[in-house]
């Protein structure tokens, strides 16, 4: 009598064991991930500790505002004013940081150019007058150091004869890995 009960129990147990063996089997697959890695360099403008605050500091599209300037008034903080013969110049430093990625390059070259013709005022960075595009950009350095805030100074020279007006322009910067 007990034997009849035990037989199905044993078979059932065996099936359970077998089932466990089957379900413990694993399957596998493979995902191939492919990319084309390109080298790059990145330029950002940074507010210089001695310069006016840049709008968009830390990005590659910043704005620098000299504020209100005139021949006989005191310039804004961190703006230097120099009176010349028949004109005056306002200046302020700003920093440029260029970083490199996935490229072998010892240093970089930096150039700049005005995008809009200004027939009245003169623009310069450091000691280099800025031409207007499509004229070739002015070279600012050919030995720029990567990953450091390199200070440059923007100079704007305004004739005394110029009437009150808003002066603005856009300067394009081009960094090239050497």
């Amino acid at each position: 009598m007990k034997t009849k009960h035990l037989q199905p129990a044993a078979i059932f147990t065996s099936l359970i064991l077998m089932s466990g063996m089957v379900w413990a089997q694993s399957s596998s697959g493979t995902l191939a991930v492919h990319a084309e890695l390109a080298s790059s360099i990145n330029l950002t403008f940074v507010t210089d500790p001695s310069g006016v605050a840049l709008t968009g500091s830390g990005t590659n599209a910043a704005a620098l505002d000299f504020g209100t300037v005139s021949l006989y008034s005191t310039p804004a903080a961190n703006v230097t004013q120099t009176v010349g013969t028949g004109n005056f110049m306002v200046s302020t430093p700003f920093d440029v940081s260029v970083t490199k990625s996935n490229v072998t390059s010892a240093n970089y070259a930096l150039s700049a150019v005005l995008t809009t013709v200004d027939g009245t005022n003169s623009w310069a960075i450091d000691t280099f007058p800025l031409p207007t595009s499509p004229t070739a950009p002015a070279s600012l350095t050919v030995t720029g150091v990567y990953a450091s805030n390199v200070p440059h100074t923007l100079h704007l020279t305004i004739p005394n004869s110029e009437g009150a007006a808003t002066i603005s322009n856009t300067i394009d910067f081009l960094a090239t890995a050497n």
């Binding site: 035990l6 065996s14 413990a24 990145n42």
Partner: protein, 181 residues
């Protein structure tokens, strides 16, 4: 009494094993009841899928997928063709979402699987992770309970140091799905 019980237990195991042996013989018809589970286990399939807003994934044959991240560089971007790039101090991170589905041929079978992932070969130039689990040559669990037939989304991330030379990046990610008992 105990010895009888043990004998019946052995008999039960031997009966099933004998049936399994007979099933391998081409001249005999195997009992469906015992063969069916073995049949199911051998046809588990893994499918890699493109999910909405995710990176394009191509199915490259049985249990094979190909994820092409395209041209990447250390230039941050929110989402372009399902690929995101974030810049970090000395590296950048490429992230892409992919879909995964595990199927059984017998769709009536309910259950879940555990999914593990690993690298088929070491990646000297970067770090690869899936769902935050950094991959190595040893499988790591990325999901413990995935239902059969369900599409699950997973995030593949590759950290590329800025010192890595430009060129081709190729990582082979192996997946292992293990049925949960």
């Amino acid at each position: 009494m105990k010895s009888k019980l043990f004998l019946w237990f052995l008999l039960g195991i031997s009966t099933v094993l004998a049936q399994a042996q007979r099933a391998k013989s081409p001249n005999r018809v195997a009992p469906a009841m015992t063969l069916q589970p073995r049949s199911e286990a051998t046809i588990t399939s893994i499918t890699f899928l493109t999910v909405a807003g995710g990176a394009p994934v191509q199915n490259a044959g049985s249990d094979q997928g190909a994820l092409n991240l395209g041209l990447v560089s250390n230039t941050p971007r929110a989402n372009a063709n399902g690929v995101q790039i974030e810049s970090e101090k000395d590296s950048f991170v490429i992230a892409a979402r992919v879909g995964l589905r595990v199927d059984l041929s017998n769709s009536s079978r309910a259950g879940t699987v555990m999914v593990s992932a690993y690298l088929l070969s070491p990646d000297p130039s970067g770090t690869v992770s899936v769902d935050g689990v950094q991959l190595s040559l040893t499988p790591g669990i990325i999901a413990r309970h995935v239902a059969y037939g369900a599409i699950t989304e997973h995030v593949v991330k590759i950290v590329v140091p800025v010192s890595t030379p430009a060129g081709q990046l190729l990582d082979l990610i192996g997946l292992i799905v293990t049925p949960n008992g």
